[in-house]
């Protein structure tokens, strides 16, 4: 249990909490102010849908992938593979709507002109190459130090 748990919150914390609640209240009032324009219930549906995608699909998929990797890839290589995959998440997710919308802008807007599929492949290639180089560097360093990386027994599931 945290040492601070159970302590009476300070005035500053209470004031901050009140400020947070006031901001939420203001935001909600703005949302419901013009229901025909802001469509608050549609907004709520979309918010729940966004969370279902993230907490119901993306994160469980990442955890499942981590579990598979932890059981199939040796420790030292696993370290770099996991790192590379984490680094690749951002560019992959951001590129999906770009790929989907490519070519749908008005001429002259200079919008979505690039081939984002190819660009994503290039970026993933660069991240993969960087990851492999770091891994090889680690292997060489381990060999030089005459202390190979520890290959753990596959006893526990982990990410």
């Amino acid at each position: 249990m945290s040492a601070a748990q159970g302590e009476r919150p300070s005035l500053t914390r209470l004031a901050l909490g009140a400020l947070g609640l006031a901001a939420i209240g203001y935001g909600v009032s703005l949302l419901f102010e013009k229901p025909k324009v802001n469509r608050p219930f549609e907004v709520i549906k979309w918010a729940i849908g966004s969370d279902i995608v993230v907490d119901g699909i993306l994160i469980p998929a990442a955890i499942a992938l981590g579990w598979v990797i932890s059981r199939t890839v040796p420790g030292r290589a696993r370290r770099y593979l996991q790192g590379g995959l984490i680094a690749a998440v951002g560019v992959t997710l951001v590129s999906l709507p770009l790929i989907h919308r490519r070519g749908k802008a008005q001429p002259g807007q200079a919008l979505l002109l690039q081939n984002y599929q190819v660009n994503l492949a290039v970026l993933l290639g660069v991240i993969a190459a960087g990851t492999v180089l770091l891994y090889l560097w680690r292997v060489v360093r381990d060999m030089r130090e005459d202390a190979p990386g520890v290959e753990p027994p596959k006893s526990r599931p982990g990410r």
């Binding site: 909490g17 993230v54 200079a110 970026l123």
Partner: protein
Amino acid sequence: MKLPKLPADPPRFWPRFSSPLRSLALTARVGRILGIFFAICFVTGLLSHYQYGPWHWLPEPASPAWGYRFTQGLHVLTGIACIPLLLTKLWSVYPKLFAWPPAKSVLNGIERLSIAVFVFSALLELLTGFINILDWYPWPWFFTSVHYALAYIVIGSLVLHITVKLPLIQEGLSTKLTSSGSNDEPEPTGQAASEDELAGLSRRGVLTATGVGVGVLVAVTAGNTVTPLRSIALLAPRQPDKGPLHVPINRTAAQASTAHANLAKLVTADSYRLTFMGPRPFDLTVAQIEALPTVDHVIPLACVEGWSVSARWVGPTLLSLVERAGGDRSSKVRITSIEANGIYNNSHIFGPQLEGAVLATHLNGARLTLDHGYPVRLIAPDRAGVLNTKWLKTVEIT
């Protein structure tokens, strides 16, 4: 008020997690960066919002000319950076989603609900914010007002979350990443990492990889506004220098036209006049506008969507014509466009921006094209792109 009593242990089907990577120390560190980025995003968003309706006693500044370019570029970039950061943060606390019992008390239930408000609103704010910069609106609401309302909900629930969790955050930040960490709810994720599991990625490795991912993402999108990064802007929605006259278009003349008001016909007709309304009203033809004394200013065009580009604008100063119409530098001026229906077919300008504004006829050494606002458009320093009204019809001293 008491909650119904549940069994001490969760049901068999309840998810269980055993990764040693997720820990209070890691969550607090990711959360710290995320909190800073959300705060920057919120403040720069407010600055942008203020552009659309400044108080008369606090006019928008005109200096530095690149002010809005900087703040809005930062707004969009920090928003983009928050996408992988928020996912890492949510992953790091994922087992808490399945905490048992779901609520220990009513207060605990409310606290968890407040976190849900943050997660729901933050995910939607980031998702719709990013999709908006692609000029894509697949939802049934007006983006601007909902984005603004959600911003308060996100920042309010974040402040509330930080307030409630402050002791844990302090504990997490003062705990080494390599230690077992401690939590108020002992669970597998709070246990010491075994040697076996440490052979894989460490918590420091998760932080580093997340940082590298965020860095790469920002680097390949920042070219939207950061000129030196344009050559590596592989995921930038805009390529500012590829627009006509090296400046992109947000709203084309075709988009701004209606069945009854074809912009191309209206602005090229012999009857076209730019009307000045004030104590000494007057009209100008295109030839008369082009014959006026001009200035040549470099002013960035900075869009609310985060792209921006520096450009050279030539035309008479707005102030010189406002003075001719009987106004002065303290006047408040309303500019309207021939465009009939767009929500940005007019804008107000006063204070320093009025003094720095140009009624541009030329852009980057060429006559304005129709899509850029032919025959004349407004351009002012440190001003949101859509407020630089195109296809001018009237200039009214209010």
